[in-house]
């Protein structure tokens, strides 16, 4: 008999499966659940993008592409970033097409981190940064961002997190689950803290198209001071509603990209070719589709934020992504208790803030990737639930 406990890689076995898995499993067995639990768009991929994918199949474009991705696509990515954000990358040497933003995050961290290096990760945030850092032999150092700072990283918090082992800083903005964004001033203040170090910034900007309010998204690398120390990660999933196509990209200085490309070359070879052809169409001709979806998200955002505040669950205005992150401390329940009871008693599924790090305690994440009618129905049930708790 093989003792699997002894043969498996201990770094992997020590990574805990998400603590709330059990809670998710309960939900999957229940019927008539109204969910606000999903982190992907409800819109179909715009038809012209799907058509471009289909056309490429019809023309038999089913071979590997170049490791870095189709040249035409890299040129379009470069044009798009310049057109949208005045961000300039050379398509030949500074852009790599990846399997979703996820692969880009993994490969970027692996390209940078040596055993024992520290990676600073702000939380609450998307769940992948910590395990990926560990798998790369790095040591995650968590910054727990605060509601009163709108879940931004402050210079002070950053200063306290830095040691002489710090290799990289992850900036996951616009942020899943908090909806926080870092604006130009916020980023400049962080630069003052790291300017005399060699810390590399890995900026996950997958939600860059989804910001609301006056200021458009500011890519970290669009600030000149950050440019040569930043790896910009983005992708097609959220902006173009293309989650299943698994396509993203990362951009940065040639010296770093050369190394990331090696990792990509050996474990991926190239991103799916069909998706790459579809993505060319997305970047060339879909601004209107993106705008239409953005408008709809914005309406839902206003509705859900207003709804939570009216119920008495304080909800700051999320400035990006597609999640509301209301505070549930007034109910006296923990995040997980709240979510589990809401699910059992009212059949509404939301995600406990603690799924995104301990700093998420006292909050829940409610996605607004759902129709207005669906959101209204869910809010009614949540209101009943909170009223019954208070009764």
């Amino acid at each position: 008999m093989i003792d699997y406990g002894k043969i498996l890689n201990t770094t992997v076995t020590e990574i805990k499966p998400s603590g709330i898995r059990k809670f998710f499993d309960i939900a999957e067995t229940m019927e008539d659940v109204i969910s606000l639990g999903v982190g992907e768009p409800d819109f179909q991929t715009p038809w012209r993008i799907r058509k471009a994918g289909i056309n490429s199949l019809e023309r038999g474009k089913t071979k590997y592409s170049a490791n870095k991705g189709l040249g035409v696509l890299r040129v379009e990515i470069s044009r798009y970033l310049e057109r949208k954000y005045n961000l300039k990358y050379n398509p030949d040497t500074e852009i790599l097409v990846t399997v979703g933003g996820s692969e880009a995050i993994d490969s970027a961290i692996r390209a940078i981190v040596n055993f024992g290096d520290e990676v600073i990760i702000p939380q609450p945030s998307y769940v992948c940064y910590e395990p990926i850092t560990r798998l790369a032999g790095g040591v995650p150092v968590i910054i727990e961002t605060k509601a009163e700072n709108d879940f931004k990283v402050t210079p002070e918090e950053l200063r306290n997190a830095i040691s002489d082992k710090t290799k990289a800083l992850i900036l996951p903005y616009p942020c899943n689950p908090t909806g926080a964004v870092m604006e130009k001033d916020d980023l400049e203040a962080l630069y003052d803290v790291i300017k005399d170090t060699n810390i590399i910034v890995i900026s996950d900007e997958i939600y860059s198209e989804l910001t609301y309010g006056d200021a458009p998204h500011t890519p970290v690398a669009s600030l000149e001071c950050f440019y040569d120390r930043t790896i910009t990660i983005n992708g097609f999933s959220k902006a173009f509603s293309m989650t299943g196509w698994r396509l993203g990209y990362c951009c940065g200085p040639k010296e770093i990209l050369d190394q990331i490309t090696k990792i990509h070359q050996f474990n991926i070879m190239c991103a799916p070719t069909t998706s790459q052809y579809a993505a060319i169409e997305a970047l060339r001709n879909c601004d209107e589709d993106v705008e239409r979806m953005h408008e709809e998200y914005d309406r839902r955002r206003k509705l859900i934020v207003n709804g939570f505040n009216k119920i008495g669950l304080t909800c700051r205005e999320p400035k990006g992504a597609f999640y509301a992150f209301p505070c549930i401390k007034s109910t006296g329940l923990t995040s997980e208790e709240f979510c589990e009871r809401l699910l059992r008693e009212k059949k509404v599924a939301v995600v406990p803030g603690t799924a995104f790090g301990q700093g998420g305690e006292g909050f829940i994440r409610a996605s607004y990737c759902y129709s207005v009618e669906h959101i209204i129905k869910a809010l009614k049930r949540i209101e009943e639930f909170v009223n019954e708790l208070n009764a």
Partner: protein
């Protein structure tokens, strides 16, 4: 703002004024006033439910009837259009470009009802020179709403 408001009402006329106000970022009073104005000015002509009659026992039959018409010197197509639209069996009347003139949607309890109506009432109008009737076999989408099946969300309940 008006066109944004109208788009939302087109999608769902039962949004409350409060919901509309929040989504459009304007106050409720303004919404109320604007809707009143739009109704008074005849921009908003009514509010109706979108119903999948085919799933009910009292389903009805509808047909698209193409009419060829000799227009009157002074009145053009108006006179005949007015005659046609005065029937309660007639759901809509459009003046068309192309190979025929008026497109009339007619509904009735049975195929025979509709056929009889076309033969007796529409075909006999003086200026109508011919009619072609196409019966609707199945309604897939009505006023932007899918009727054939409920849209299914296959995303599961949780995804971080």
């Amino acid at each position: 703002m008006k066109s944004e408001l109208l788009k939302l009402l087109c999608r769902n006329a039962r949004y409350t004024n409060e919901e509309l106000a929040v989504m459009l970022g304007i106050d409720e009073k303004t919404i109320e006033k604007t809707i009143e104005e739009l109704e008074k000015d005849g921009i908003i002509r009514g509010y109706k439910a979108v119903i999948d009659w085919d799933s009910l026992d009292d389903a009805y039959v509808s047909a698209i009837v193409e009419l060829n018409v000799v227009p009157k010197a002074d009145l053009g197509f108006e006179e005949v259009a007015e005659k046609v639209m005065s029937y309660h069996e007639v759901e809509s009347v459009y003046l068309m470009s192309g190979s025929y003139d008026l497109n009339v949607v007619v509904k009735g309890k049975t195929l025979q009802d509709v056929a009889r109506f076309v033969a007796r009432e529409l075909a006999t109008i003086d200026s109508v020179t011919s009619t072609t009737t196409h019966f609707v076999m199945r309604r897939y989408k009505e006023m932007d709403v899918h009727l054939c099946d409920m849209e299914h969300d296959d995303r599961g309940q949780f995804l971080l």
